[in-house]
């Protein structure tokens, strides 16, 4: 039975939670592999006697029930397919569950295998039910049948999910306005309370959760103790707890161990392609992009090599991701045979990476990253960068930073003192110079680069610094000189002697 969506009111976020409950999760994780149209039972044969853990509806129709010996189950249902729990299938199913839920909200707790609790505080209240249906449909298409419960607290959302399972509906909302009325329809079994407590309720004539929630707390505490109070608090929405949010770091991860020794990179690239396609699709389903790629290659001698490759801009372009990762993998040092590959995607934070609509910046950050890599191979990594002044008076002191991806507005003149005069162009190596001095002023300059008569000189400009760092202190006297038929130059006098630093142009 599909519950009609509520009429939309003002789009405001409310405090609330959703519980996604995948009944018989271990069995459903196996069913995803195609076992849907015949009776199937999951058995535990680690004990002396093999017993049925759970069974699907077709098997149940033949009388197969949990806890039953497997032999008996097979006798009741001759066509029963017996399966053992598969950790790999369960892991894949739980990841699918988490990834799909991540497309709705970011705050998710993995409460138990097959059970997620979602914090809906970031979602508009009037979209909860619609989003719940959407999520349920997506999971159903992926092969997981779930029930979604919505409530003010994690406990109420869990009760709502149990109610949905109990009544055979997909979405159940315990809204604050009609909570008691809805609880009046639910038996105590839904609240997962103990058998003894349920027996007491039966003896007292209490049949529904609603009738219990209407009791006064003091009366419940006097007659039922802590267990009763805890249930009462849950039903009245007074029991709140913080969610232990799931770690998403290892969510988008694939790994493969080779059955044979691999000595070439070709199989690695083949595997990489496969992983990229699968992981990119999974990240895309959450409405995010890939911010970084982690790869880890394990070798037969027990060693590992790995790297984290940050993307210039989050992307889902498989070609970009492949180029980035394959270029990095090409530099792999294969001292031993490859044993396995592990690939992980770091999803982006969609809000943090939102770019201004009319901002000026790099048009294609991926291309820029690739261009830089190629240029570095030609000139060297230390000879590329956006120059920035550093906090020092040492002439020419600067650092080279990555180019700013966004450029701000440039209204008015540049901040700081006005820049006057021509620019200085430094010689690559300071040119040792012999200087003839008269009355403290340079008169003639002789060096391997040029020789000339000084027709005018301004200076000296004294500077020094870093004397507080052992062995790094510097001291100099600068002269700006005009040399006949040559131009304007900067002449520097240091304790080591005179040198021609460069020319003004």
């Amino acid at each position: 039975m599909k519950e009609p969506p509520r009429r939309r009111s003002a789009a405001k976020a409310g405090t609330g939670y959703a519980v996604i409950w995948c009944r018989d999760f271990r069995l459903q994780s196996l069913k995803r592999r195609g076992a849907r149209d015949f009776p199937i039972a999951l058995v535990d044969d680690t004990q002396r006697q093999s017993i049925v853990l759970c069974a699907n509806a077709l098997a149940a129709r033949h009388g197969v029930a949990p806890g039953m010996p497997t032999v008996q189950a097979l006798a009741r249902c001759p066509g029963l397919r017996v399966e053992r729990p598969s950790e790999a299938s369960e892991l894949a199913a739980s990841r699918l569950l988490l990834e799909t839920a991540l497309g709705w909200v970011p705050g998710i707790e993995e409460t138990a295998p097959g059970i997620l609790t979602l914090d809906l505080s970031t979602q508009p209240l009037d979209q909860w039910i619609e989003s719940a249906w959407h999520l349920r449909d997506r999971l159903a298409r992926a092969g997981l049948e779930v029930a979604v419960g919505l409530g003010e607290t994690p406990a109420l959302a869990r009760i709502a999910a149990q109610a949905a399972l109990h009544e055979g509906v997909e979405v159940w909302h315990l809204a604050p306005g009609d909570r008691l009325a809805r609880l009046d329809r639910l038996p105590f079994l839904v609240a997962e309370c103990g058998a003894k407590l349920r027996e007491k309720f039966q003896l007292w004539g209490l049949a529904t959760l609603g009738s219990f929630a209407r009791l006064r707390r003091e009366e419940v505490a006097a007659r039922l103790g802590d267990e009763g109070v805890e249930l009462w608090l849950r039903l009245t929405g007074r029991l709140r707890r913080p969610l232990a949010l799931a770690k998403l770091e290892e969510l988008f991860e694939e790994h493969h161990d080779f059955d044979y020794e691999v000595h070439e990179s070709e199989p690695l690239f083949f595997l990489l392609r496969r992983f990229l396609g699968s992981l990119a699709g999974r990240v895309a389903a959450t409405g995010r992009s890939v911010a970084a790629v982690h790869w880890l290659v394990s070798f037969a001698d027990g060693t590992f090599q790995g790297r984290r490759l940050a993307l210039p801009e989050p992307s889902l372009d498989e070609e970009v991701l492949f180029r980035l990762t394959s270029v990095s993998l090409e530099g792999l040092e294969m001292k031993a045979a490859i044993r396995g590959l592990r690939l992980r995607f770091e999803p982006s934070d969609p809000v943090a990476t939102q770019r201004p609509l009319f901002g000026k910046g790099l048009r294609n950050r991926h291309l820029h990253g690739e261009t830089l890599t190629r240029m570095r191979k030609i000139v060297g990594a230390d000879r590329i960068g956006s120059p920035r002044r550093i906090d020092s008076h040492r002439p020419g002191a600067c650092e080279r930073l990555p180019l700013a991806a966004e450029l701000g507005e440039t209204e008015g003149p540049p901040p700081g003192p006005p820049v006057t005069g021509p620019t200085l162009r430094r010689y690559p190596l300071a040119c040792r110079t012999s200087v003839q001095v008269r009355e403290g002023k340079p008169l003639r300059v002789e060096s391997a680069r040029l020789t000339g008569v000084v027709i005018e000189a301004h200076g000296p400009w004294k500077s020094g610094g870093d004397w507080w760092h052992r062995g790094q202190s510097w001291e100099r006297r600068e002269w700006d000189v005009a040399l006949l038929n040559h131009g304007i130059f900067r002449l520097v006098e240091t304790p080591q002697g005179w040198s021609l630093e460069g020319y003004y142009d």
């Binding site: 590329i384 960068g385 956006s386 120059p387 700081g416 020319y503």
Partner: protein, 235 residues
């Protein structure tokens, strides 16, 4: 067998008939360039000589015959213009003579500096960068390069570079002592000389006083001959 002169006459008649309807690729490119107003600078004299500003998709040479002619000031003006327009620029600095204290911090925000050992290396790395759509301005500072340094660059590299620049509609400016390559269609020479007093003058005032001269013929023919000779050898 038909007379070849008849064929030529027929071809000429056809051309007359078609008139301006059909143009060669070269004519088309030249017309596109003529129509392009170019990237105007704040330097009135320079813009006038270039017909409105630096043409997109072309290389322009600025010849700085010696120190203290104002080559660095032109570079500083162009960097400021690029930053003001929110466009990124790359400077290929042969000899790494770039001096950070000569430029305002803000103008450096959109600049990527690339230190190069030689002219050949600068052109090689420019060839890589020219394929990147993020950059609008490319500057090659080869003021300290000798003619021998420029000769080490293969003509095919320049041709490829111009092709990339045309595709991206980027502006390329080469600062050099003299002629560099035949593919540069615009060449200007700085003819003014700066005095020591200019060190304390407002930069805008100095830039406004700079004088240029358009270089025609000689340098280009020389470069053309050299490259033509290399092409023949390669053939």
């Amino acid at each position: 067998m038909p007379d070849p002169s008849d064929k030529l006459a027929a071809l000429a008649a056809l051309r007359r008939e078609l008139g301006g309807k059909v143009r060669s690729g070269t004519e088309f490119l030249e017309e596109c360039t003529r129509r392009d107003p170019g990237e105007a600078t704040t330097l009135a004299g320079l813009d006038a000589l270039l017909g409105g500003g630096f043409k997109r998709g072309r290389l322009t040479e600025i010849h700085v015959p010696g120190p203290s002619r104002g080559g660095g000031l032109i570079l500083a003006s162009l960097l400021a213009r690029a930053r003001q327009a929110g466009q990124y620029a790359i400077l290929f600095d042969v000899g790494s003579g770039f001096s950070i204290e000569s430029f305002p911090d803000r103008d450096l925000e959109s600049l990527l500096w690339v230190g190069c050992d030689s002219a050949a290396q600068a052109v090689a790395v420019w060839d890589v960068a020219a394929r990147d759509e993020n950059y609008r301005w490319f500057f090659l500072d080869g003021r300290d390069c000798t003619p021998e340094d420029w000769r080490a660059v293969r003509p095919a590299q320049w041709q490829r570079l111009v092709g990339q620049m045309r595709e991206r509609e980027a502006v390329g400016v080469i600062f050099a002592r003299g002629p560099v390559t035949a593919v540069a269609k615009d060449r200007l020479e700085l003819v003014s000389t700066l005095g020591l007093d200019s060190l304390h003058q407002d930069r805008e005032t100095i830039v406004a006083s700079l004088a240029f001269r358009r270089v025609e013929g000689g340098g280009r023919e020389k470069a053309g001959r050299r490259e033509g000779g290399e092409r023949r050898m390669a053939g």
